[in-house]
Symmetry: C2
Subunit: 369 residues, 2 copies
Amino acid sequence: MTQTPLDYTAAGVDYSKIDPLKILAQKAAAATAGNLHARGVSEIPASRGESAYVMDVGGVLIASITECLGTKALVADAVRPISGKTHYDSIAQDTIAMAVNDLITVGATPLSIHAYWSAGGSEWFADETRMTDLVTGWQRACDVCHVSWGGGETPALAGVVEAGRIDLAASSVGIIPSRDRLTLGDKLGVGDAIVLLASSGIHANGVSLARKLVERLPEGYATKIADGRSYGEALLDPTTLYVPVTEALFAAGIVPHYSANVTGHGWRKIMRHAKELTYRFHTLPDVPPVLSFIQQHAAIDDREAYGSLNMGAGFAFFVAAEQADEVVRIAHEQGVAAWNAGVVESGPKQVVIEPLQLTFAADELHLRA
Amino acid sequence: MTQTPLDYTAAGVDYSKIDPLKILAQKAAAATAGNLHARGVSEIPASRGESAYVMDVGGVLIASITECLGTKALVADAVRPISGKTHYDSIAQDTIAMAVNDLITVGATPLSIHAYWSAGGSEWFADETRMTDLVTGWQRACDVCHVSWGGGETPALAGVVEAGRIDLAASSVGIIPSRDRLTLGDKLGVGDAIVLLASSGIHANGVSLARKLVERLPEGYATKIADGRSYGEALLDPTTLYVPVTEALFAAGIVPHYSANVTGHGWRKIMRHAKELTYRFHTLPDVPPVLSFIQQHAAIDDREAYGSLNMGAGFAFFVAAEQADEVVRIAHEQGVAAWNAGVVESGPKQVVIEPLQLTFAADELHLRA
């Protein structure tokens, strides 16, 4: 490869500009916690900065989250003329996965979903095929997760959302039936095993990079990847819904010490908990062909690839070492490949990927104020 | 006035294209209710089609909602060069009001808010003044409502959201402490009084029309309205937060039979409940000068004005007749003007505004499948 590597800034996402706002907003948000006292409610402080927010309402722990799809719908729009399919059934699943896969990290059972479908104009909703696919896929994903689709909002926002486009997001509410199901990391510690769950492909993170890459491919989204499918269709494999796995774990009496949904920042997300710990991997999951293709054609090294894409690991459980094999078995029973892939060690906060001789230091991830 | 009246289709919002999707989505959503049984949870079926969704989780009633601001941020962007202010503190309050003012209609006490701030690019977040105003206004609105800002999502979505723009939405979770606080309209009936709460201005509905009107004004947003302020600044008066009023009612032991947040479809929203009832008004609230200005300069008649704008009525309570004056008094105590403005009668489903000799028939509102 003689090409210049693609990176996120080249692909239009500059985290240095977003993160100061995140920190400002996080501080202001934290300052509102006391408002709940007037209602006889309290927050679970350790949930601030985690992937979902948890309140204690008279002993019932309520978790909530709002998450967006990102730019993956642009891929569906571009691939439709090639594949003859709208792919919005997959896009719907991606959007729901962004919400529920975050919600379950705190130990919650998702109960309801609200849809946020914000289109660039009323005409977006007049395409019956696409509209039906979106509704059908949304319903099916709700069924897989056993959640109720409680409502939503479908505005037409010409001038805010681009003409012909749609901004998709989902919010979800769940419950944690008892305090010992809360997985905010207080039990996370040295000796824990790290079980990785397979991703189905790119999921919905790294999509800006994946779209940027198309400009370099002579056949664009129609370019064949190693498994013989087109790049576009492979990108559109819907994000795995991990709710059946967490529910099966709970049913078996297994509560992870901590969980991480591997999204933006790729494997750097593994060290998202505030504790000072080293996460050492001895085993790597299989890399989906579409991610190998991206790494190769975007000419990015392992540091860039594992630091921004999931590279086959869609979700991580940190569990008691003696439960790791059982967690792997239960995931397989739910149709999700899994690997007992690493261990938590004492040491500086970092992610060490031994097979690749790669280390991400703590200062390469800035999620908290 | 010799000008052609402006209407919603001319202003870019065509409800005939949105509503078929809403109906398809509502049917699919209703079909997912049974998913909750596996979790030992049930929905409150009467909350479907209402402004917020309610689940019964072991006797705790949890209400949830996702709502969007719409296009009002475009007004702030256009007015900033004139006023020298970003107005995003007001815009933040508008966004939160869209969510909590809906949530309270079912009898809920809002507890938490999630922010959804989806920008057209990372550079949106680099404007420190605007960013600080947005965060400050968001926090202040949370404080007024005594809710906790639990988290949020701040994506940069170039290609989905227009460059330089932001798609703002909020989701909220609340609780209803007992079943007799549920206000889904089962007690709504003949003889109830209708108490209207004052709006602060346009709130966040009818904004497309208001923006379209600017093209007709020689001085645009800088045009002075009757109260001496500029049209742009008056449009940006933030939406009233009605949470303090509902909480004061509950504290006084008053539970409305039903509530309606007057948003899109203006006064037609008054008849949103499924029951066959006539809503007759004998008294009109004061019309905010900015709404009179819109009606006059857009050359729209009362039917169009009251059928799409709030015209001074931001929220409606349907209460036992003998409680109406007390409701008015309590609202005033919370700084919100209110009028005992109408009565619920037997008869065809319609809204009758006697002082204007105006009637909206049921077929002029299609919200439900």
